[in-house]
Amino acid sequence: MSERGDVVIIGGGIVGAACAYYLGGADVPALVLERDYPASGTSRACDGLILYSDKLSEAELALARASATLWADLAASLDADLEYNRRGTVVLYETEEGLAAGRRKAAELQLAGVRAEVLDPAGLRALEPNLAPDLAGGVYYPDEAQVDARAATLAMLDAARAMGAVLRGNSEVTGIRLDASGRVCAVTTRDGDVPCRTVVCAAGVWSNEIVRTAGVELPVKPRKGHILVTARAPGLIAHPLLEGSYAASVKSSAEGVQVALVAEMTASDTLLLGSSREFLGYDRTVSPAVVQAIAARAVRFLPGLAQRSIIRSYAGLRPWSPDHLPLVGPVDSVPGLYLAAGHEGAGIGLAPVTGQILAGWIVRDEAPPLAEAVRPGRFPSLMGER
């Protein structure tokens, strides 16, 4: 047991859970310090889509595909129902111009080896009979998948605990302490210091405040999103659906709110409806205007939803990073400090590959495959001598 805390992971969300899981698999049982309870932050306020059709760069796509493979393995090997389903997703286009862009995107992805099938209106109706009849078409990505983000977080943490990791809830880390040589020697919590040689900051949007105490500035900003939960609507959709402008809204850095429909069914037959993106600091209150805007997009694409009710909504904060890639790996200026943060809306999808890369760094102290693109040192504020 690492109660002594050789490796401390800050954050019990999906990313911290994945780090604990892959470190556990490498015989490095970590101590996970979670501020509230597992999955209490962004991981409980998100959808569970494992996508690559929205990826913007070759590096991002490579990470997404590696992670998607790991998710399939996890779903098969973890001793819990992650509500994992690989039934593919459908991207929807309202207009011919939109569909033309979708077709180009699909062709690009096909070149990279991703399966994609462009759908005309009839093809779209065959896959999703309850969609509005006036859509221009869509693209079906048969290999995209979904999980229940909360169940997956808990399952990875439980598995990590079975391999010796220790989880402490209600345990907020307020800072990182360095020794005289500038190396990590402890983390500070409200209940006192926990000595450790290695710290993994996986605190998502709340990482900035913590690593700042070690003199490190992150370029991560909270990007707020809303999700609406409907009453049960069994059979209304057969695949998760994404509005074609979704990728563009991810790419945009606009300050104002942007809304693009994402609809996902859950094992209990409710639908999760998203999505919105806006920069509003750390405010997590639900905005009625955004709820209404998402409802309007949902009814536009799925007229059958008009009669159904929203039973709750929530808002979460995505850890946005300037180049849409997470920051995973060592902070060169502070020996012993590692980051696993800045995944924006791809935290669920990229969690396993993040955990694997991070564990690789800690166990072997050299760059594992795929690690270069996400190295924190690519940002000037995080460069430094090691």
């Binding site: 979670e34 509230d36 309870y37 597992p38 999955a39 209490s40 409980r44 909360r150 977080t153 808990l154 439980d158 605990r161 220790v166 989880l167 402490r168 809830g169 209600n170 345990s171 939960v229 409907t230 009453a231 209990s268 409710t270 209150t285 639900v286 009625p288 205007a289 709820v291 209404q292 409802a295 309007a296 949902a298 009814v299 536009r300 939803l305 008009a306 009669q307 159904r308 009710s309 929203i310 039973i311 709750r312 909504s313 929530y314 808002a315």
Partner: protein
Amino acid sequence: MASTDVAVVGAGPAGLSAALTAANLGLKVTLIDELPAPGGQYLVGNPAIHSRDTKQPPFSAAERQGLALLGSLAQTSVETRFETLVWHLGSDYEPFPRCWTLGLYHFPPELGGQGGIAGKVEYLTAGAVILASGAREQVVPFPGWTLPGVMTIGAAQLLARRHGVAAGRRVLLAGSGPLLLPAAVHLAGLGAEVVALLEATHPLDWLPHGPAVWGNWDRVAEGRRYLAALRKARIPYRFGQTVVRALGAEGLEAAVVARLDSRGRPLRDTEEQISVDALCVGFGFVPNSELAQLAGASFRFDPANGGWASELDEGLQTSAPGLFVAGEAGGIAGASAAMLEGRLAGLGAACHLGRLNEAERTREQTTSAGRRKRAKRFGVMLNTLFAPPPGLSAITTQDTVICRCEEVTAGEVRAAILAGGFPLTRGAMTLDALKTRTRVGQGPCQGRTCGPILARMLAQETGRPPTDAGMFHVRPPIKPVPLAALAGGEQP
């Protein structure tokens, strides 16, 4: 967007009293309720249902007072919005000092009703808000409590008073608290055979609480009238007993009842099966607190007050300036206290908006404040002596469903509490944490029913105080609203 000086949420005794008080001071008041008519659960239904039946006991002082408030509502300038749900409450500091925004969902029958067909989403801004949203019943779950034919006392009262329908032909009432008495009398008045009224607590436990009765003579007289009516209808009133199982295939066929030991645990060898077609249960009330939670008001846990309730100052203002709570929504104390609190909150809102100065308010509220204290004391006494005894949780077996919406059993909840790593995670096992491990609280009722049950279970399983369990985090809409109404609604 429509605007008003004072928005009053809930048109029961507290809300009526608050609205009339504020309107009489010249404020523009908007009174909102989900029901199609004013009166709330307490005054719901046509009073003719009572008066037609000569076997009914006469109205209590509180009922007479409530009916008088109802009668004067039409003569005032109060704007009423019925069949309207307040699904959101937010605030903004602009325009200064603070402006409240209420998200409304109006669902009159001609628009299709609450079944989810349509309705209108609108917004209302208000300088002050008085929450008088009442309370909901608490249940101690037992096997079979989800069978058709098993309902809360309140549901049976609603059927009886609003629709003149008895819950069944042979009815058993079980639970704790004074509300069992009028329910039994009303059911008998409608021709139902009330086989028994089972009170889980015992009169011997009540003795130490006698002093709080002082001054609340109208409440005592009310109780005595109901007791006399029970005797007249030959309804057995049994103490220290409760229902432990409901039996039936498609619907309720019989109830198994048992005596309780001194700690409230059922004695299995005293079990007795009674065939009934309706079983009404109620173990007291918890405040409806969702809107105050959404508004960010601070809360305090006090079992004698009904559990979690908003922290209120002397003028019934919450920690959020301009937000007031009156009646059972702020703690369980009955209709008399609710009406007094409505008046105090109305004065408080007027003071907040500058219509009254402090001196005027103090003068206006002296008598009400004193009488409210006395009525509250009586309420605290009732909550304390009729609190479900701790051993009663033994009727909740492992297979008993706790979360009705998502069909999560007590056994699954216990397993989740253990899997949460307690005690390693020290206090990290809250209701919200439980919601991420199971599906409790994720259904249409959003944990309204199962929240207090789960809090008790958590406290019992972990040995920690119920405050550690916290409350379910509340997010809008506090009750379901159809997408069409949101999509086509007014913009905030």
